[in-house]
Symmetry: none
């Protein structure tokens, strides 16, 4: 996950949030679940900052949207505990695939679960392979 890509994804997520008239935090992490870039919009509550990061980490850990409940949720929760207790399994983050390779994930917090995921998806779309490529 290059910083330039991460920042572009965050900008696109913020554009989406503005269109929805909401204030969000957006976090991008690499494939290892570690932070690459983050931004909290003016007026967004600070609590959701932790949510955005936690959901992005969960998505990077599973390679799935953070809102897709894994069939083995209790196993993932134990994995989370053993891996540093930084994941949040809740809608609002999606994986990022570039050139056919999973490079990380982007998560949003501050809106409803659906709004958060829409913003994250808009961010990912700004740097991901176009569908059908």
């Amino acid at each position: 996950m290059e910083l330039e890509h991460a920042n572009r994804a965050i900008s696109a997520a913020i554009v989406q949030a503005r269109q929805m008239d909401i204030r969000i935090s957006v976090a991008v992490c690499d494939d290892g679940g570690h932070p690459v870039a983050f931004a909290r919009m003016d007026g967004a509550g600070w609590a959701a900052s932790y949510g955005a990061v936690g959901k992005a980490t969960a998505s990077a850990a599973t390679g799935s949207p953070s809102g897709r409940i894994p069939p083995d949720l209790h196993v993932m929760q134990r994995i989370n505990e053993l891996a540093g207790d930084r994941m949040i399994f809740s809608q609002g983050a999606v994986p990022i695939v570039v050139n056919g390779k999973r490079v990380g994930a982007i998560g949003a917090g501050g809106g409803t679960a659906e709004q958060d995921e829409a913003c994250a998806a808009a961010g990912a779309a700004a740097i991901m392979d176009p569908p059908g490529t």
Copy 2:
């Protein structure tokens, strides 16, 4: 959140509690969720002290009354764990807005959930912008 404002809010909450003939604890925190002022009325149980503080912190974190259950309650509970584990998501605290800016929150404990919120709201009203300003 200035101390003089916080103390004025606490006094107003206590006046409200006396009118209801209850004994409460009242806590005011700043917008970051950190303590600014606190008072426990004579005769109020000590346990509710922690409730007043925890509800004020939760309200500062979400910018909403602490009794408005967020649709994503489990996310907020995870955020709470990641942000220091000091919030209580339960009725009894409200945000404080001064000059159009959210500056913190006030929470009460010791009465029923409704009484606590009424006291907190009376405290906030003493320093907040008058409605319709």
Copy 3:
């Protein structure tokens, strides 16, 4: 510990802090170590709020100034863990005795250790039995 007493002690501690030209937080707890009153002066850092409370709790737990290292410090640290992990064993808080009875403690944070204790002592003196009574 009556609230009126606690507030008077806090006011006296703040007067002392102003004379020293420092900004502090001050906490008063009852004999059970539970919060009674608290105030953070404008301009005082938020971190020291937790310090003032923790030192007051430690002083109430031991009945000694929080800066007097107990001979059995490791025992007190274990006791602290078992009793809720809210004490800080460091200079800045003193017990409060009224009418010959220990009623709680007052702690300060935000200055040096010596300044904090001087403010706490000034607060306690405002409501304690005069020496030699």
Copy 4:
């Protein structure tokens, strides 16, 4: 702490890091110690991301450079535990003052302690009041 300011500070810190030929992470938090913006340069190790954030949080908590060891370090470490356990007391972060008001802090990680602080200071300088204003 506005996002636009935070991003400008991060950009300036990265310019400084490039001049030193090092790869760093940079974090900006608000005055309450909550995340506002973050960036990890390409090639910077992921571990230092947590360092940048932790040092920025510590600096926001104390209002001092995170490398200025407080005389009461063990007190600050206890405060840290009570306030969420997210601070790192080590050189590499400095407070940010805008229009005479402390608005947060910026921290860097990935270089030596001195390099990290130089990058953080360059970031802060980009948005702070010019000296002597």
